[in-house]
């Protein structure tokens, strides 16, 4: 056993340190297919003190590390290439839940849906609802600034985080907040930092009251263009849906052929799933308005689901769409990009053309209300020729989104997967400033090295120490 492993074992016990490649195998990827990297060690602290102890041992050994929640990340962020992986799944206590203040304080390994379940008896829920909510952790959500369908109305993770205790990579423990009472918004800077600024020890989040009434509408269209344009019309009309999701024919087909069949019309070119919630009277007025508006915008049919079972079924197809696509091919490359909402129809046409040209099948299922695209490609990434075609198609899609004034990621993060697009999105001076922000938190560059911002952009970072390159 290395001296590092021995020192870590002193903190967490020998059973919670893995060093043999065979036992480390499960940690060699996250949910991004096609990219694998084996950590040299994995360590699993169970308490805040153990976590802080682990980070201090790593600091004393000048050892780089990667924090890992549930490993559902889609950008390769939780991969540790030959360095130590700090797994947080054992830190899953809800430390406090205050129904009056509507806040909860949790350890980073608490699963997103578990928090909502704990809040449910108080008529509250945790609003950010990534489709992976049954598995992903709050710590991972903070690191990625995760979103979800209901973020259209309720905001992303950042809007729900009040304070956090962080252990910085050098072992110092700090409490961060948004600076509303004075102070730089260091918590705002931390959220979305992809594990590069330190590790969340605990976090206090806002809980949201359950709405009095929820109604889900399914509108189906004979053209993707019309469906995309309808989203702009809904938002422009001043209705703020709780969620506004678009699924295209390829996605509908995948869902309807799977165990998650939701009753989407198989012959539609696209469906919109629209949800409105709030106080009862206002919601009913919105539903009437929406139904008329969607019809005028060209919907062939609008189905209104009031009862929870019917609503759950409509949502199941959306939430399990990635899983349903998984049946089509061994791997699913999930993409994430953002464009201005008014350009959705145009971009979807462009994406279709790119798919045809490269001979890949693109399934679109996405947060249309935010212009947050998920063009997904079912494929076999172990087939080099196919992997190359998928990669070429994805690059063109990204380039088109950037050209349209959009972004390369709305919620999944840059990780390793998207480092190559950062230069097209930001100026060298901006990337350098991002590196300087990282210096504030992690001057030793030991937390998740090589992720999120390309190292070559960091002007004052001369040679990156050997073994610090991560997988980048």
């Amino acid at each position: 056993m290395s001296s590092l492993a021995a020192a870590l074992a002193d903190v967490v016990g020998g059973a919670q340190v893995l060093a043999r490649p065979a036992t480390l195998h499960v940690y060699r990827s996250d949910a991004l297919p096609g990219l694998r990297a084996l950590p040299s060690l994995a360590v699993f602290p169970a308490t805040p003190d153990e976590l802080i102890g682990v980070i201090r041992v790593l600091a004393a050994h000048d050892a780089p590390f990667v924090a890992r929640g549930a490993g559902t990340g889609l950008s390769g962020g939780a991969l540790a290439d030959g360095i130590t992986l700090v797994g947080l799944h054992r830190m899953r206590r809800i430390l406090a839940l205050d129904p009056v203040a509507r806040t909860a304080t949790v350890e980073p390994g608490v699963v997103n849906a578990t928090l909502t379940r704990a809040a449910a008896p108080h008529g509250l829920h945790y609003a950010p609802d990534p489709s992976s909510q049954a598995a992903c952790t709050i710590g991972g959500n903070i690191a990625e600034n995760a979103g979800g369908p209901h973020c259209l109305k309720y905001g992303v993770t950042l809007d729900h985080v009040v304070a956090a205790t962080i252990v910085l990579p050098d072992g110092e423990v700090v409490t961060l907040d948004r600076g509303d009472e004075g102070g730089y918004d260091l918590l705002g800077a931390f959220v979305g930092s992809e594990g590069c600024f330190g590790v969340v020890v605990d976090v206090t989040v806002r809980l949201t009251p359950d709405p009095e009434r929820i109604v889900t509408l399914l509108a189906d269209f004979t053209s993707v263009d019309t469906a995309a344009d309808a989203t702009s019309q809904v938002v422009a009309a001043g209705i703020v849906p709780a969620a506004l999701e678009l699924m295209d024919a390829a996605t509908i087909g995948a869902v309807e052929s799977s165990v998650y069949a939701a009753g989407y019309p198989r012959d539609a070119a696209a469906v919109l799933l629209v949800e409105v919630d709030g106080a009862a009277d206002g919601v009913e007025a919105d539903v009437t308005h929406l139904t008329a508006l969607l019809r005028d915008a060209g919907a062939r049919g609008v189905r209104v689901a009031h009862d929870p079972a019917d609503r759950a079924r409509l949502w199941q197809g959306r939430k399990k769409a990635f899983g349903a696509m998984g049946r089509i091919a061994p791997h699913l490359v999930v993409q994430d990009a953002v464009v201005p909402r008014t350009r959705l129809a145009e971009l979807l046409r462009t994406i279709e053309g790119i798919g045809v040209r490269h001979g890949v099948r693109v399934c679109n299922v996405f947060h249309a209300g935010d212009g947050n695209l998920h063009p997904n490609i079912p494929c076999d990434t172990d087939d080099p020729a196919e992997a190359a075609r998928v990669h070429a198609a994805m690059s063109e899609i990204m380039t088109a989104c950037i050209a349209a004034g959009g972004s390369i990621t709305g919620e999944h993060g840059v990780g390793i997967d998207k480092l190559g697009y950062m230069d097209a999105l930001f100026t060298p001076e901006t990337l350098d400033a991002m590196c300087r922000l990282r210096e504030v938190f992690d001057p030793g560059r030991r937390a998740n090295p090589g992720k999120a911002v390309p190292v070559h952009a960091c002007r004052e970072w001369h040679a990156v120490p050997a073994g610090r390159r991560g997988v980048a």
Partner: protein, 303 residues
């Protein structure tokens, strides 16, 4: 947007971002600190600034990009809140910053100070309404984090860092903002002798009022102590909210303009006066303004 000058000062008003970069570069080279100003509506918001040169952002003015269907808008930092309100209002939209102070203030100063207002809880704080920005930091580097789209997690979040940094890390030059549709029905009520517990419950309840604001009436031409309540939404939503509100006390309708008065007279004390200079905060400052030329002293930072 910043503290009063300590000594008589020269004022420069750059008319382009390039000119702004030159001003900062000169300041670094000559170690002559800058006091950064918007429309100078709030001169006493922080501690005095130790600077002899004042940089006004007022000439970086105007809306450069506005697509109503996207509910996004970009404007120069010197654009006034009144100009923003007028442009967006023409499309039934607004950027509901509505900060403490008045609409002669600039968008840049509102974001730089992260000044919220009586509707922030419900309509969003400045930190939630800014999508991206362009800025010149204390090394004279032009930085443009974030973007114009409403959802974006690419790169480390300098937008959040610079918002509310009071011009001590960077001079904001352009802001990309999120807009919202104005509520189709928008009405305000004065409730004196209200039932505090019920109003509290109303504020937290399903009707989501735009504001429930406890205040003295005298400074607003009203009687006694009470609550100003603003309701917004579709007609059915506002009507049912109003019915619930009736159970909270005696209501009298008031004009929406009353909120302009509220924003002027009910502002809380400035957070600039209570700045926590933690080791991390000092490190941030050192990275973005290593020569200490941007608003030195404003946040009570030691010399």
């Amino acid at each position: 947007m910043t503290g009063a000058p300590t000594t008589s000062s020269v004022t420069v008003t750059p008319t382009s971002v390039d000119a702004m970069v030159d001003v900062v570069r000169d300041a670094v080279a000559t170690t002559r600190p800058l006091r950064i100003a918007g429309a100078e509506q709030w001169p006493a918001a922080g501690h005095p600034v130790r600077a002899t040169i004042t940089v006004r952002c007022s000439a970086l003015r105007g809306i450069s990009h506005y697509t109503p269907g996207d509910l996004t808008l970009s404007c120069g930092a010197g654009t006034t809140l009144a100009e923003l309100d007028e442009a967006t209002g023409a499309n039934g939209q607004w950027c509901p910053l509505l900060p403490w102070g008045d609409d002669a203030g600039t968008v840049g100063a509102t974001i730089a100070t992260a000044t919220a207002g009586p509707f922030a809880e419900r309509l969003g704080r400045p930190r939630q309404l800014v999508l991206g920005l362009e800025a010149v930091d204390g090394r004279a580097q032009r930085i443009s984090p974030g973007g114009r789209v409403v959802k974006n997690v690419a790169g480390f979040d300098l937008t959040r860092l610079f918002t509310g940094s009071w011009g001590t890390l960077a001079i904001l030059t352009t802001l990309h903002l999120r807009l919202r549709a104005r509520p189709s029905v928008d009405e305000s009520w004065w409730i004196n002798d209200g039932d505090a517990a019920r109003l509290h419950a109303f504020a937290r309840g399903p009707h989501l009022p735009l504001a429930v604001h406890r205040t003295d009436g005298a400074s607003k031409g009203l009687d006694g102590e009470g609550w100003l309540v603003r309701l917004g939404g579709n007609r059915a939503a506002v009507e049912s909210a109003r019915e619930t509100l009736r159970g909270c006390g005696t209501m009298a309708p008031v004009a929406t303009e009353i909120w302009d008065r509220v924003r002027l007279v009910d502002a809380p004390s400035s957070p600039a006066l209570a700045w926590p200079w933690t080791p991390l905060a000092r490190r941030v400052r050192a990275q973005f303004d290593p020569s200490g030329i941007l608003n030195p002293g404003l946040l009570g930072d030691p010399e």
